[in-house]
Symmetry: C2
Subunit: 158 residues, 2 copies
DNA sequence: CTAAAGAAGTTGAAAGATTAACGAATATTA
DNA sequence: TAATATTCGTTAATCTTTCAACTTCTTTAG
């Protein structure tokens, strides 16, 4: 125990590391968002395009997509409605479960993905990957693994 | 160049590291938000309380607070209005610049901060700090420094 | 000193996110 | 198989964020 009330406050180094993580994660998201703006996409849009692009038949069940992107069903539903309006995606009924829907990439969605991806990768490189020597990137990755694992294990309304 | 169109795609290791960072930063924010909920605070509220708590006289100019918390002036203005309604903060006119306002912590805001901080620190420890051995935390911190530096240098509407 | 330009902060409307309630279909179990 | 509980996804209401316009005050330039 570090103090009279039993709280284990952060040491200077711990606090500095924590704040660095916070700062980087926020600035980075902002920057990526800005770099997507010229293409008329948000980070959210892009993430959905990535998920669908990497899926069998360019389609995913709404629930799975919601889980994969850490969004509530409601939020995803609104999001897909917007992307449908933008012509990036459409909803298709599911044969095997008549409650279910697939979100499916349209041709325009796929074209958009292929057009935007190189720019997005360049952005990720410029602002993140290429800022660290490979061994530091590796170290960072290794350090994050147990954190990710723990968070995953507690995430379902932990 | 890695491909016909000149895009330098991410290697497997780069992609894995990048996705780990993304995943951790999102799950972590969600988790911290959840842990603050019982106290009726959002991450946003908490961050403002931290900034004010650490400031001279528990007050900051609206603009400085907006910059410090990476929010637009408009967003901060609405945010402070809500916190004012909740009794955590109040607006005080600035003598030296009559356009200006301070956001000032109320007694209730300060009490709230002191009550909540230990829980928040415990949450940061549980989900982040205490998941990594000190040397890994140090490595992570070191790795993030150049990234943070670069992002800071480009952040003003880069 | 005055006119123009800039900075501080607010406002209202529009867009996005969250919450709770709901309808429809599937699973469970008694 | 009938009754109940769950899951899938949407909707409406509410809250938060963004965007653009605006007011007031300060600074700069002529």
């Amino acid at each position: 125990m570090d103090t009279e009330n039993g709280t284990r406050w952060l040491s200077d180094e711990e606090q500095a590391a924590w704040r660095a993580h916070l700062e980087v994660s926020r600035l980075l998201m902002h920057q990526l968002e800005r770099d997507l703006q010229p293409f008329g996409l948000t980070n959210n849009d892009y993430e959905i395009l990535v998920n669908l692009s990497e899926s069998e038949d360019h389609r995913m069940r709404m629930s799975d997509l919601a889980t994969a992107t850490l969004q509530s069903k409601s939020r995803l539903s609104h999001q897909i409605t917007r992307m449908e309006t933008a012509g990036l995606v459409r909803r298709v009924n599911c044969e095997s479960d008549r409650r279910g829907l697939y979100a499916v990439l349209t041709d325009h969605g796929w074209d958009t993905m292929r057009k935007v991806a190189p720019h997005h990768v360049a952005s990720v490189r410029e602002h993140f990957i290429d800022r660290l020597p490979p061994e530091d990137l590796k170290a960072l990755h290794q350090a994050l693994l147990p954190v990710a694992k723990h968070l995953r294990s507690t995430r379902g309304r932990g």
